[in-house]
């Protein structure tokens, strides 16, 4: 087991797929993971995938948590969200309701992560079915700007932009992590001091 550990790159980026049921979270994930499109729809419970990828010349691991669109318990959904470092918030461009639901997901994620700048991508899936479009690009873009996030339209079927959304998100996560480590490096001494203080107090 330690061998396996040694082989694995240290960096793991944790991505969480959120969105209403049936918008294609699993389809996107599977397309990214295995380059295949799955037509049959079977509701996901919660699946996690891990894959080694090369991100800008650096080997990293991506850990994808494909959540259930129809999880009943808010408390359990919170638990999923807590484990994520970046979120792909997926809706179906041919389903207005799923677009509306992104609002709730966004709010919940912000509440759980307590971070306005959490790596986040708004993803409009099923771009190949443009003729059934219910959500206009403008509408989606407007919301993305509101949230200060990027909006990408994908097609799990044609693989359009599939890699892009995952890589874009990983880059965001990476830059966030680097920022954080820089900050904590600066803070570390202080932190230790406060810790010591605490000990004394205790």
């Amino acid at each position: 087991m330690s061998k396996a550990k040694a082989q694995q790159p240290a960096v793991i980026h944790k991505v969480i797929m959120v969105g209403s049921g049936g918008v294609g979270k699993s389809a996107l994930t599977l397309q990214f993971m295995y380059d295949e499109f799955i037509e049959d729809y079977e509701p996901t419970k919660a699946d996690s995938y891990r894959k080694k990828v090369v991100l800008d010349g650096e080997e990293v691991q991506i850990d994808i948590l494909d959540t259930a669109g129809q999880e009943d318990y808010a408390a359990i959904r919170d638990n999923y969200f807590r484990s994520g470092e970046g979120f792909l918030c997926v809706f179906s461009i041919k389903e207005q309701e799923s677009f509306q639901a992104t609002q709730d997901f966004r709010e919940q994620i912000l509440r759980v992560k307590n971070d306005e700048n959490i790596p986040f991508l708004l993803v409009g899936n099923m771009a190949d079915l443009a003729e059934q479009r219910q959500v206009s690009e403008d509408e989606a873009l407007k919301r993305a700007q509101e949230w200060k996030v990027n909006y990408v339209e994908t097609s799990a079927k044609t693989r359009a932009n599939v890699d892009k959304v995952f890589y874009d998100l990983m880059r965001e996560i990476r830059s966030r992590k680097m920022e954080a480590s820089r900050q904590s490096n600066g803070k570390q001494k202080k932190k230790r001091d406060t810790k010591k203080m605490k000990c004394v107090v205790l």
Partner: protein, 687 residues
């Protein structure tokens, strides 16, 4: 020679025709010779045949014997095997929980419906067995084990193996226990955490990369990753988790609705009458947690840790003394232990064992047809003593006495009724009363100081006595035995009762009570028979003195009568005549026998009755004398009649009086009055 011939005849190429042709050519002598030889040969062959048959036969017998021995061994073997099997199943029941739980998990629902309570308790008791520090988990009522299994915990980040755990999915939560290496006994896991299903997120980890069959449990702030051995096991886990979560959600919803309704009602009630809140309740709950660390230290002693196991072993070995010793020791130890959840848990484990132990002991005392009863009370005492030590004296007492009852019953049934009632009764009394006294002695030894049990014993003794009396009555009274036999039997049992007095058990009055009515009846019957007999004989009594013809015969007769207790010498007339009539002698004999028997049956309660019975018989005879005196046709015999009267009223009555005196009793009023008759009779004659 014969051998040679036999060889020739036995040859496969033997040709009888050429042999005969050759033989016949050799003349008469040779032929005769040959005939003799053939005869001899046939004789020898017959002999050999006989021998062979015998040999065969003996071999056959030997084989049969071997077979029967083999059969016996096979039976023994099968017994051994069945013993082994029961032992195995017993052992299976003890520590191997998970297998059963798995089976149950698969069978699932129907069993749940059958006896959910029972199963729950058993399952959670198993938890206590296997996992250290989980008493609080097992305490929750209605909690059940749904699924459990061994898992490997992985590091959520690196997927490196961390440790072995055993997970228990309960119907409302998931309990994780870590495996403790190098630990003997059933306690192989330490409680790690209990997670409510409500907030527990399950993630199926797809088999990408090197890790197969993984799944994650997210429970904020922790997240754990576990690995199962097989894909099937993982599927089971995920399904079980999903299923249980759903069931719980449904149940919670119902509960919530019920709670809402209740709250509404309470609200209405509260509006009607303002009362105190639940303040006190929450207060007490807060108080409990503190002394955990203390009692855990207390319980970490080596022997305590191994105690449950040792107990199991002792119970399995039927070393009940050892087990009880241990229980006592631990109880003593625990009383000085500070209270806390760990103690509670430990207690629960011990109690579980104690229950097993008690069951074992009770089983030991149980009367079952296949168990031999020959062990006697001493064998039972062993189990009884242990039960008392466990504080189960009431059960012990009950079982002990039941056991004894069975033994007495068995022993009585072993007795064979062979002709003589008295003999049988003697045996019966011997068996019954010796058992009774044995039991009481044992009881005193086995239950020293448990005075509550003694009343149970007394009641038991009375019941047994009742059973005895019913047998007694059947054998003695209903078999139309003679009064003498009955009196002997009653006397016998009374004497035995007296012996019991020596050990402080007085049941004689009970016996007398139970027999009273039967005795009275039998006395009445006998009395009536006697009176009838007297009246019958009175009809043709001619008051003739007995003529024995010669003096020697007369002397002989006098001696004979003297042997039965009457001195009739003074009544001898002219050497060979005796003034006492045959009838009087007969009456004297029967009335004295009657009195003898009645006095054997004497009790203060029956005193009056007995006296009256004897008096009645006597009166019948006296009346006969009176009638005879009045009878003119018998006027010549007056002197003889008077002599007889004198004999009956003085000698015989004197004899009865001595019988009374022998028992330190005065001659009762009724009989004295009869005695007074004598004078009256004389007066009559003078007239």
């Amino acid at each position: 020679m014969a051998d040679g011939l036999a060889r020739v005849l036995a040859k496969p190429t033997f040709d009888p025709e050429s042999f005969i042709a050759k033989l016949s050519g050799e003349g008469e002598d040779a032929l005769l010779d040959m005939k003799a030889k053939v005869h001899m040969l046939s004789d020898e062959t017959a002999q050999a045949l006989k021998k062979n048959v015998y040999k065969n036969y003996s071999q056959f017998i030997e084989t049969a014997r071997e077979i029967s021995i083999l059969e016996g061994e096979m039976i023994q073997l099968s017994h051994f095997l069945s013993d082994q099997k029961s032992l195995m199943s017993f052992m299976m029941e003890m520590p191997l929980v998970s297998d059963r739980a798995m089976v149950q998990g698969i069978k699932g629902e129907d069993e749940e419906k059958e006896s959910p309570e029972e199963e729950t308790r058993r399952n959670l008791a198993f938890l206590l067995e296997k996992v250290e520090g989980c008493s609080s988990v097992a305490d929750v009522p209605g909690r059940q084990l749904v699924h459990d299994g061994d898992l490997v915990e992985l590091d959520a980040e690196s997927h490196a193996q961390l440790q072995r755990v055993h997970a228990f999915l309960l119907n409302d939560s998931l309990m994780i226990a870590t495996w403790i290496p190098n630990r003997r006994g059933p306690m192989r896991y330490r409680f790690q955490g209990l997670y409510e299903l409500d907030s527990l997120a399950v993630v199926n980890v797809r088999d990408t990369g090197p890790v197969k069959n993984g799944f994650k449990i997210l429970m904020f702030p922790e997240s754990h990753m576990y690995q199962t051995d097989t894909a099937k096991a993982k599927r089971q886990w995920l399904d079980a988790l999903e299923d249980t979560k759903k069931k719980k959600a449904v149940k919670d919803k119902q509960k919530k609705e019920a709670a809402m309704r209740l709250a509404e009602q309470q609200l209405q009630a509260a509006l009607a009458s303002p009362g105190e809140g639940d303040l006190s309740k929450s207060f007490t709950e807060d108080m409990e947690e503190e002394p955990v660390a203390m009692d855990r230290d207390f319980l970490s002693a080596d022997w305590l840790q191994e105690l449950p196991e040792d107990l199991d072993m002792y119970i399995a070995q039927r070393n009940f003394e050892g087990a009880v010793d241990l229980v006592e020791k631990v109880n003593e130890y625990l009383t000085s232990c500070p209270n806390g959840p760990a103690l509670k848990e430990f207690r629960a484990r011990i109690e579980h064992r104690v229950k097993q132990l008690t069951d074992g002991l009770m089983n030991e005392l149980q009367v079952s047809p296949e168990r031999s009863l020959r062990g006697g009370p001493r064998a039972a005492r062993r189990a009884v003593t242990q039960l008392i030590r466990l504080g189960k004296s009431a059960q012990a007492c009950k079982l002990f006495l039941r056991n004894r009852s069975a033994i007495i019953k068995y022993n009585i049934r072993q007795l064979k009724f062979e002709g003589a009632t008295t003999l049988y009764i003697r045996c019966l009394c011997g068996v019954f009363f010796s058992s009774l006294s044995e039991t009481s002695k044992e009881f005193i030894k086995a239950f020293p100081g448990h005075y509550g049990c003694f009343s149970a014993f007394v009641i038991w003794a009375k019941q047994e006595l009742q059973a005895f009396v019913s047998i007694f009555r059947r054998q003695v009274f209903e078999s139309k035995a003679s009064l003498t036999t009955i009196a002997d039997s009653v006397l016998l049992s009374k004497n035995h009762c007296m012996e019991l007095n020596a050990i402080g058990l007085d049941i004689e009055f009970c016996l007398a009570n139970m027999l009273d009515i039967s005795i009275q009846q039998v006395i009445e019957e006998t009395r009536d028979q006697l009176v009838d007999g007297i009246n019958y004989r009175a009809n043709d009594d001619l008051w003739r003195p007995q003529n024995h013809l010669t003096q020697t015969d007369c002397d002989k007769y006098v001696k004979e009568i003297a042997a039965s207790g009457f001195d009739i010498k003074p009544f001898v007339i002219e050497k060979c005549f005796i003034a006492i009539t045959m009838n009087s002698i007969q009456f004297a004999k029967s009335v004295v026998l009657f009195a003898e028997d009645l006095l054997k049956l004497f009790t203060t309660e029956l005193e009056e009755f007995i006296a009256e019975a004897i008096a009645t018989v006597y009166r019948a005879q006296v009346k006969h004398i009176e009638d005879s005196l009045k009878n003119e046709s018998l006027s010549k015999e007056y002197s003889i009649i008077l002599k007889n009267a004198q004999f009956l009223l003085e000698t015989v009555m004197g004899k009865i009086e001595t019988l009374y005196l022998a028992q330190d009793l005065a001659l009762p009023q009724q009989l004295q009055q009869i005695n007074a008759h004598h004078r009256k009779l004389r007066a009559m004659v003078r007239k």
